[in-house]
Symmetry: C2
Subunit: 352 residues, 2 copies
DNA sequence: TTGTATGCGTTATCAT
DNA sequence: ATGATAACGCATACAA
């Protein structure tokens, strides 16, 4: 019995090879690999009939462009690397969604690198970048990745987001810290508070500095004397809120309201206050910043300033994607105005 | 004035080129690229003196292997892809640290893909895998990535972790759900409870099913009649805890204790109970599972079963790295025994 | 011990 | 409209 001819020249050989390459497709469609490549990237330059044959072959083989080869050839990948020190940051998740949506819309994929603020890991990702495995870099870290100078020089287009980047001249997308903090302080002021404590890390964190500035501007405008203001150090963790509270009570001159640099700090303060027997918000007002999910589950629920997380993600990615072709010079800074979210942790000061 | 000879043949040309390649190193060390490659990967096969020249050249140029080219050539990368549906999962962060430590120790890097349970995104990452951009796959998702069948067939070595993988025959590393749940139930029992409600999603989630089984085994052993057991549906979100609670009260026969499939559910129950004016744990006991950070910040702090997160991460990566050379057949399942964490949400039942 | 040459899967240039 | 081929950067079989 004569062997039945297969519809395509090399149908048999296909099963042997693991992943279909452009060559498999070419053979099956009976064209050159150049034509296959064209059919994919510039379909209008290919005759309709051949294009159809190629597409059919692609469908049958399940061919997907080998991104490694493509990037090697092109000197640029279509992946964006996001570097984050702490994946667990409650802000990170929804910013990421914004980033990814925007990236997808432009044909880019998103990869996340977890640095844990460890220079070693930073170096690893630097190497990753160095071999063009990502076309652009998004810094959620507040600083450029650490590593050999040689490598930091050759960084791809980069934009920082959420936390201002203190080293490296890069574009930045984030909340308008100053304006947001000012809104928060004004909310406290208009509730009648005059003795207010601010808790934050003003020395190294740029974002915290800006929030402190907004706080001070608002109090200046309300002509609150310096003697009625307290500024306490706190690195932005829940624990730092508790600690700052201890200091306040050690010094003995409690304020009527706390303005915390972020919600984590505020949660620490709320917990500490409750533990000391204060009833909130009757005895003391607390306001936060960020509006993380946990802000709702504390008692009383936190009045706070909401980070426009999704917008930050979207705009940061948009800016980066633009920068891929021509990095803006000088770097741009996009500040998004946040909204005040009024919940239950602020009322007027108690009569004393 | 005669031009001063440069110490190396092509020192000048280096500045022009963007990133140093193996060829730059070869020229500078005055050897062939093959020798450079060998000096890096099999140093013992290279004369000491040449090796030194090569190393020096590498140091000067800041050369790093182009991972794209290397992987293309070798047909395998040194990156591991972790697929997670929700980066914000409070369990994810510390598992990740375990994964990364183990990976680093073996010279592998970790990349995270955020699928959001979206098949489109899954397909993207499938393409990523398909071109050998990752040597192995870790599934935090509870299921294999969705995509064209053609591509799912060609998956690299894979292991699931944290949540049993319901499609795809893959190895798995996670907590011993059954034993952990049994411990929790026994804790409730030994506190004196006999009317206990279980809240969880027993239909589609394998892990939930196992926890329910552990619950039932413990109650069987204590000879609790079926009439004293309640099993309520809840998908594991905070909201699902509240909802299940509603159902209980609608039916009117409240238990004395709640065993929740996870902490999120338990937090929903605790909140709901507090909102209804119950004082915990005096009026009602609640036990969770996972020991997420938030378990500490609810009142009363949650008694729960702790996920061995770091161990899960470490062992899953170790298993995957082994599987790279020879995938175990049949797939292995590593179950880690969890500890009961006693806090304040469980006491004896109220006298009625 | 070292060098030459080939191929990994693409894209792009130049012919035809 | 299509095909042949070079080059991307590297690892390695084979020669020397």
């Amino acid at each position: 019995m004569p062997s039945r001819p297969t519809p395509f020249p090399s149908a048999a050989s296909l099963q042997a090879t693991s992943t279909a390459t452009i060559e498999d497709v070419a053979r099956m469609a009976d064209v050159s690999i150049a034509t296959v490549s064209r059919a994919i990237h510039t379909p209008e330059k290919v005759a309709t009939s051949t294009r159809q044959r190629v597409n059919q072959a692609i469908a049958i083989t399940g061919y997907t462009t080998n991104a490694m080869a493509r990037s090697l050839r092109m000197g640029r990948s279509n992946m964006i690397l996001v570097l984050a020190p702490d994946i667990g940051d409650p802000n990170f998740s929804s910013i990421l969604v914004g980033l990814e949506n925007e990236a997808r819309a432009h044909g880019y994929g998103v990869l996340i690198g977890h640095t844990q603020n460890d220079p070693e890991r930073g170096l690893d990702y630097l190497k990753f970048l160095n071999s063009n495995q990502a076309a652009g870099l998004l810094l959620f870290t507040g600083h450029a990745p650490f590593g050999h100078q040689m490598m930091t020089e050759r960084l791809p287009p980069t934009v920082g987001l959420f936390e201002p980047v203190f080293n490296g001249r890069v574009s930045y997308v984030g909340v308008d810290d100053l304006a947001g903090a000012r809104k928060a302080a004004e909310h406290l002021l208009s509730a009648g508070h005059r003795r207010i404590a601010f808790i934050g890390e003003s020395r190294t964190k740029l974002g915290h500095q800006r929030r402190l500035k907004g706080f001070e501007l608002a109090l200046d405008a309300a002509r609150i004397p310096a003697s009625d203001r307290m500024v306490l150090e706190g690195d932005g963790t829940i624990e730092s809120g508790r600690l700052a509270l201890e200091q306040i009570f050690m010094r003995g001159d409690a304020p009527t309201a706390f303005m915390c640099v972020n919600d984590a700090t505020a949660i620490g303060v709320v917990n500490g206050l409750s533990a000391r027997g204060y009833e909130l918000p009757r005895d003391m007002s607390v306001i936060g910043f960020d509006d993380i999910p946990q802000a709702t589950y504390v008692h009383p629920p936190l009045t706070t300033v909401r980070q426009p997380r999704s917008a930050i993600g979207r705009q940061a990615m948009a800016l980066l994607l633009q920068s891929l072709d021509a990095p803006p010079e000088p770097p741009r800074e996009i500040l998004i105005m946040p909204d005040l979210i009024v919940r239950g942790s602020v009322t007027g000061p108690q009569r004393r």
